[in-house]
C-alpha cells in the first residue's frame, strides 16, 4: 500500500529542519532502492520528532520500519545491511541513546574498511537528535559528538539549519563512508528557512564562514551556530565584527577554513554545548593553537557545557547550555587580551 507520490520537486518552500530532514529521507528513498529507513517508532508513528512522518505510507513497510528497542542491535544490523550492499539510514531517538551502540561504532562501523583493506565497507547513516534547550527529560539532551569523533573511520556531521540539513543528509546517505548525523533538537522547529524542493547535496568535510568579521572568530556547529550569530549581532551593535565559522562536518575536520579565519582575526572562541573536558572543542582549540599560533593575539577560549552531566533539573538547565551572554563574556575577555 503506497500513498501518493510527493509533490513535484521544484521551487523552494519555507521548511523547519525536521521537515527538511523528512524531505531528504523521502527523496533518498525515492531515488535509491538500496535506501532503508528504520529505528524505534519511525514506522507508523513517523518518529518521536516526526522526521519520518509519512515515509512508511509512501515507501512501504519493507523500506521504512520499526525495529525492536535495542540500539546496539540497530547499529549492528545496519552494519550488516551495509556490508550486503544496502544504504541503511537508522534513527536513534536521542543521541544519549547511542551509548549502547558505541561498541558497534568503535569496534565495527569505523573499522571495517580499514581492517579489510577496503574489501568490506559500511556506508550507513545514523541520525540522532542531540542537545538541550527544550526541557527534555533526563539524558535526552546529551551531546556525545566527541565520542564519535574519536572513532577513526566515522564521519560526523552536525547541521545548523533546515537547508543545510537537507543537503548534508542527502550527501551523507550517498557517502561511501559511515556518517553520524546529529540533529540539534533545539533547531528542529524553531526556525524556517527557504529549502529548495529538488534533491541537492552539500559537500561533507567543509566548514563555512557564516558571518564575516575581523575582530575574532567564533567556531561552532549545530545548535550553537545560532547562539554565536546572536552574539555576533550584539557585538556588531557595539561596532565589533565577529566572524562565525560553522564547522558543520566535525570529522573530517576542515582545518583550512577554521585556521584561515583565525589567522585573519587573530582570536578565537570555540563554542559547544557538550561538557568541556575532552569535548570536541578541545580538538578545535588544539588545532587552532597549533596551526595558527603565530597569528594568535589571545588564548583560544572555550565556551561549553560545564564539566557535569546536562542537568535534569528544569528550572536551572538553561545555565548549562551556552548562550549569547556567555559567548560575549568570553569574546570580551579575548578582545582585552
Amino acid at each position: 500500500m503506497r500513498a501518493e507520490a510527493p509533490a513535484a520537486e521544484t521551487g523552494v518552500a519555507q521548511l523547519t529542519m525536521v521537515q527538511a530532514i523528512n524531505q531528504a529521507l523521502d527523496q533518498a528513498l525515492a531515488a535509491d532502492p538500496r535506501v532503508l529507513v528504520f529505528g524505534e517508532d519511525v514506522g507508523v508513528m513517523g518518529g518521536v520528532f516526526r522526521a519520518t512522518d509519512g515515509l512508511q505510507a509512501r515507501h512501504g513497510a519493507e523500506r521504512v520500519y520499526d525495529t525492536p528497542l535495542a540500539e546496539s542491535g540497530i547499529v549492528g544490523y545496519a552494519v550488516g545491511l551495509a556490508l550486503a550492499g544496502m544504504r541503511p539510514v537508522a534513527e536513534v531517538q536521542f543521541a544519549g541513546f547511542l551509548y549502547p551502540a558505541l561498541d558497534q561504532v568503535l569496534s565495527h562501523v569505523g573499522r571495517y574498511r580499514h581492517r579489510t583493506r577496503g574489501r568490506f565497507t559500511t556506508p550507513l547513516v545514523v541520525r540522532a537528535a542531540y542537545g538541550g534547550g527544550v526541557h527534555t527529560p533526563e539524558q535526552h539532551a546529551d551531546s556525545p559528538e566527541a565520542l564519535l569523533a574519536h572513532a577513526p573511520g566515522v564521519k560526523v556531521v552536525v547541521p545548523s539549519s533546515p537547508a543545510r540539513a537537507k543537503g548534508l543528509l542527502l550527501a551523507a546517505i550517498d557517502d561511501p563512508d559511515p556518517v553520524f548525523f546529529l540533529e540539534a533538537i533545539k533547531l528542529y522547529r524553531s526556525t524556517r528557512e527557504d529549502v529548495p524542493a529538488e534533491p541537492y547535496r552539500l559537500e561533507l568535510g567543509r566548514a563555512r564562514v557564516v558571518r564575516e568579521g575581523d575582530a575574532l572568530t567564533l567556531v561552532a556547529y549545530g545548535g550553537m551556530v545560532e547562539v554565536c550569530l546572536q552574539a555576533a549581532a550584539v557585538a556588531a551593535r557595539e561596532g565589533v565584527e565577529l566572524e562565525v565559522v560553522d564547522v558543520e562536518t566535525l570529522v573530517p575536520f576542515d582545518e583550512a577554513t577554521v585556521l584561515g579565519s583565525v589567522r585573519k582575526t587573530g582570536r578565537a572562541v570555540v563554542v559547544h554545548e557538550a561538557a568541556r573536558t575532552a569535548g570536541f572543542g578541545a580538538e578545535i582549540a588544539a588545532r587552532i593553537a597549533e596551526g595558527a599560533f603565530f597569528d594568535l593575539l589571545a588564548p583560544v577560549a572555550r565556551v561549553t557545557g560545564w564539566d557535569a552531566p546536562y542537568p535534569p533539573f528544569t528550572s536551572v538547565e538553561h545555565h548549562y547550555r551556552p548562550d549569547a551572554a556567555r559567548v560575549l563574556a568570553a569574546v570580551r575577555e579575548a578582545l582585552l587580551a
Partner: protein, 343 residues
C-alpha cells in the same frame, strides 16, 4: 507456552479460592486507588504546567501495586520511569515523586530510608544494577530481595539479557517483573518480539518464569510473593510477566492516535484492574460507595498536602548544576561553580 495465572475474573468474580486475606484485599484495593488518584492528579498538574513530561501508568496499577505489596520495607524496588505507582506503594513520599516529575532536584534525592532506586531513562540499564544490589544483599547476609521492573520493549535491550543471565548464574535474590503492556511507545509487542509470551524466556536462563494476568491484583501479588519467598530462601531469581495494557498515552507528550486505534479503548477499559477489584470486594461485602468516598477524600487531602509541600521546595541555585559531580568539588567544577555563582 506458559499458562496465565489468574484469580479474579474481569467482572470481579473469584475464579478459585483466593490466596489473600480479606484485609489484604482491601489494602491492595486502597493502594491501587491511591495510585490511580496520583496518576490522575499528576496529569492535571502536568496540563497546568506544574509537572514536566509525565509517564502515566493508568491500567497498570494492579501490576505495579500488587508486585510492590509483595515486598518487605527492607527490600529494594528498582523502577523504570513508569513505576510511580510501585514507588509510592513501596514508600516513596508523594511529595518526592511530584518533585521528581517536576524535575526539581529535591525530587531526585529519595529519602534515606526509602529503598527505591531512582527512576531512570535509558531503557533496561537498571537491570544489572538490580542484580548487583541483590547479590550484595546475599553476600552480606542482608536478607533483602530486589524487585526490578522492565517493560516489554525493554526486554529487547542487551542489558536485559545480561542481567537475567547474571542473576541466574549468581542465584541473586531478584524478581524481574516485566510489565507487558502491549506497547513500547508506538511499537506493539508483536513487532517487538516474535514470541510475545515473555515468560517463555525464563527457561533459557534456568529460572522459573510465570505469566500472570497483570490486571488481577490478587494474582500479581501472590505470584510475586512466591517469587520473593524463593529469592529470600536463596533459590534465586524469577521472571514474572504481568500481562497488562497501557491505557494511556506513552507520556503526556504522546498522541496514541498516531499509531493505534483508540476506538477500541472502551473494551480495554473494561479489563482495567480497579473496577475488577472493587467488584470483588463489593461482592464480598468488603467495600461500598461510602468507603470509596471516604478513601477519595483522604487521598485528595494527602495529595493536596504533597503538592503544597512540593510547591514549598526552594528553587535550586544555578551553581547547583555543577555540584555532586564528585564527592569533593574538583578544580574544574569549582571554576564552573564560581562562574555560575557570579551569574
Amino acid at each position: 507456552m506458559t499458562a496465565t495465572v489468574r484469580y479474579v475474573a474481569e467482572d470481579g468474580r473469584a475464579l478459585r479460592e483466593l490466596p489473600l486475606a480479606r484485609e489484604d484485599l482491601v489494602r491492595g484495593y486502597r493502594a491501587m486507588r491511591r495510585a490511580r488518584h496520583f496518576d490522575e492528579r499528576a496529569v492535571t498538574l502536568q496540563r497546568q504546567g506544574r509537572l514536566g513530561v509525565y509517564p502515566l501508568f493508568r491500567g497498570q496499577e494492579a501490576a505495579q501495586v500488587g508486585a510492590s505489596l509483595a515486598l518487605e520495607p527492607h527490600d529494594w524496588l528498582v523502577p523504570t520511569y513508569r513505576e510511580s505507582a510501585a514507588a509510592i506503594t513501596h514508600g516513596l513520599p508523594l511529595e518526592t515523586a511530584l518533585l521528581y516529575w517536576r524535575s526539581h532536584p529535591a525530587g531526585w534525592s529519595f529519602p534515606e530510608h526509602v529503598r527505591v532506586l531512582p527512576f531512570y531513562v535509558p531503557i533496561a540499564t537498571q537491570l544489572p544494577h538490580a542484580v548487583g544490589v541483590a547479590h550484595a544483599g546475599s553476600l552480606r547476609g542482608e536478607g533483602w530481595v530486589v524487585l526490578a521492573f522492565v517493560g516489554d520493549g525493554g526486554t529487547s535491550e542487551g542489558d536485559a539479557h545480561e542481567a537475567l543471565n547474571f542473576a541466574a548464574v549468581f542465584s541473586a535474590p531478584v524478581v524481574f517483573l516485566v510489565q507487558n503492556n502491549g506497547w513500547a511507545i508506538s511499537v506493539p509487542t508483536e513487532r517487538q518480539m516474535r514470541n510475545t509470551v515473555i515468560a517463555d524466556r525464563a527457561a533459557g536462563y534456568g529460572m522459573p518464569g510465570v505469566r500472570v494476568d497483570g490486571n488481577d491484583l490478587v494474582a500479581v501479588w501472590d505470584v510475586v510473593r512466591q517469587a520473593v519467598a524463593r529469592a529470600r530462601a536463596g533459590e534465586g531469581p524469577t521472571l514474572v510477566e504481568a500481562v497488562t495494557y497501557r491505557l494511556a498515552p506513552h507520556t503526556t507528550s504522546d498522541d496514541p492516535g498516531r499509531y493505534r486505534d483508540e476506538s477500541a479503548a472502551g473494551e480495554r477499559e473494561r479489563a482495567e484492574p480497579l473496577a475488577r477489584m472493587r467488584a470483588l470486594l463489593a461482592g464480598m461485602g468488603a467495600w461500598s460507595d461510602e468507603y470509596e468516598e471516604a478513601l477519595l477524600a483522604d487521598l485528595r487531602a494527602e495529595f493536596d498536602a504533597a503538592v503544597a509541600a512540593a510547591d514549598a521546595a526552594p528553587e535550586p541555585a544555578p551553581e547547583s548544576i555543577v555540584e555532586h559531580v564528585y564527592a569533593g568539588m574538583q578544580p574544574d567544577q569549582r571554576r564552573a561553580w564560581e562562574a555560575l555563582r557570579e551569574g
